[in-house]
């Protein structure tokens, strides 16, 4: 089967991969890029465990062809850490709030929540629920996940105010 070179920016660095044109973006990022935060959960766009940001918006990388990533800017959970490898505030909040149990869904939830915590507009708990409605968690019952996102959002908005 035909192969194609895909050039895109992944977590701030320009990358080039030679992919089979039948590959999904999750195949490319996890299989070739070694980005293990991307989980192959359902592989049909139901569970959100493979969520990445493409040009700032959440997508299921399992139902996105790798070739479509040409020229795009992609952010995965690995890209949230700082240069020294320290985890970000949203990841810490998931730990502090007990929003992680088995952890399989966690990277997807965190990536789906990034647009919320980056936004200048505070989101209500209902709006947060809507923004993570494409992610499934079978352990936590969701409340603790919403708590972690809400807490990080408040903290970031407060920090912006004091600056």
């Amino acid at each position: 089967m035909a192969r194609k070179t895909v050039t895109c920016t992944i977590n701030g660095a320009e990358r080039e991969y030679s992919v089979d044109v039948r590959s999904s973006l999750s195949d490319m990022l996890r299989g070739q890029g070694g980005l293990d935060s991307i989980k192959h959960g359902c592989d049909v766009g139901e569970c959100g465990a493979c969520t990445v940001l493409i040009d700032g918006q959440p997508f299921n990388s399992c139902i996105y062809l790798a070739i479509w990533a040409e020229g795009k800017t992609i952010l995965t959970l690995e890209g949230l850490s700082d240069k020294k490898g320290a985890i970000s505030d949203i990841q810490q909040a998931f730990i502090d709030e007990g929003a992680v149990q088995c952890g399989f869904c966690t990277p997807g939830f965190i990536m789906a929540s990034v647009p919320i915590i980056m936004s200048e507009e505070p989101a209500s708990r209902d709006e947060i629920r809507k923004q993570v409605a494409g992610n499934l968690c079978r352990c936590t019952g969701y409340d603790k996940i919403i708590n972690a996102i809400e807490k990080t959002q408040h903290k970031r908005l407060e920090e912006k105010k004091t600056k």
């Binding site: 039948r22 590959s23 766009g45 959100g48 409605a133 494409g134």
Partner: protein
């Protein structure tokens, strides 16, 4: 890895049309949120695909010179929800497609894909039918226009011929101006679910807001394809805004639908939903238009 026999990647619409002509058996891949999943499930395994995802000329929403609202088919559901022209002229379409899947699906799913799949549960279909959408369909021979009303033949089968691609969805000005609408999707969950039944109503009231000038109503999952309920519309047009109007719309809707029993719901429950959603969507549309029932 997807089980795809061959993937064609046209760089322009013209190339895509040529590929459609040369490979009539190949499916058009827009956002892939139906086709890629059906490949995984095995239903479409081994298919040939023409990916039009990269054709940015098929994205965007604008107002044409004649005032009609033009939605390019690769516009994602999120594009439709967020677009200021949709919010201004046809907010009900944004409200409808905002109920599809979750954020990730709304970012990848396209409005053109939604209607070309030809399924009765397509959340954009009822509203587009109820607004008398006109489709622009291109081939190498030129572009033809077709009322969306005539597009669906049977489940999964639409009037797209070999060599053709949907290039535009047009809402005439006369269809959206002074028109107020409401959409209701009934499903078991508020996200990531397929409609058990859906109803889209829009009304234009007379200047004194005493009577219905024009009411249009369409349903999803009330028949094998998305349908308009013309008996309900005939019953409503020119009618005073009162309880009798609401009952006549519901009665007319029941006369026009033919739902079936599926694992999601029984025919009887769907008929109950037809009546109830018709009532509720009509009342809310009239209220949005500034009318008052029994006012």
């Amino acid at each position: 890895m997807y089980d795809i026999k061959h993937l064609y990647e046209p760089k322009t619409v013209e190339e895509a049309l040529l590929l459609r002509k040369e490979h009539p058996e190949a499916l058009v891949l827009a956002g892939g949120s139906d086709i890629l999943i059906q490949i995984r499930e095995g239903k479409l395994a081994g298919c040939e695909l023409i990916s039009i995802f990269a054709l940015d000329e098929l994205r965007g929403i604008c107002i044409e010179e004649d005032g009609s609202l033009l939605i390019r088919p690769l516009s994602s559901f999120t594009d439709v929800v967020m677009h200021p022209l949709i919010k201004k002229h046809m907010p009900v379409l944004g409200e409808a497609v905002e109920q599809i899947g979750g954020p990730q699906i709304r970012n990848i799913g396209t409005i053109g894909g939604n209607i070309c799949n030809g399924v009765t549960s397509a959340d954009s279909a009822g509203t587009l039918k109820a607004y008398d959408a006109i489709l622009e369909i291109a081939s190498l021979e030129g572009t033809r226009t077709l009322p969306y009303a005539d597009f669906n033949f049977k489940p999964g089968k639409v009037d797209l011929r070999p060599g053709e691609i949907l290039t535009g969805i047009r809402i005439p000005k006369a269809s959206y101006e002074r028109t107020y609408a409401h959409f209701i999707k009934y499903a078991m969950r508020r996200a990531m679910d397929i409609a058990t039944l859906s109803c889209s109503v829009n009304v234009r009231l007379t200047d004194d807001k005493k009577k219905v000038e024009r009411l249009r109503i369409a349903f999803g999952v009330a028949a094998p394809i998305p349908i308009r309920a013309f008996t309900a519309e005939k019953n409503a047009n020119g009618h005073l805004l009162n309880e009798a109007l609401i009952s006549k719309v519901a009665e007319g809707a029941l006369a026009d639908v033919m739902p079936r029993t599926s694992w999601r719901a029984s025919k009887e429950f769907r008929l109950h939903l037809v009546e109830e959603l018709a009532r509720r969507a009509t009342i809310t549309s009239i209220e949005k238009a500034g009318g008052k029932i029994n006012g």
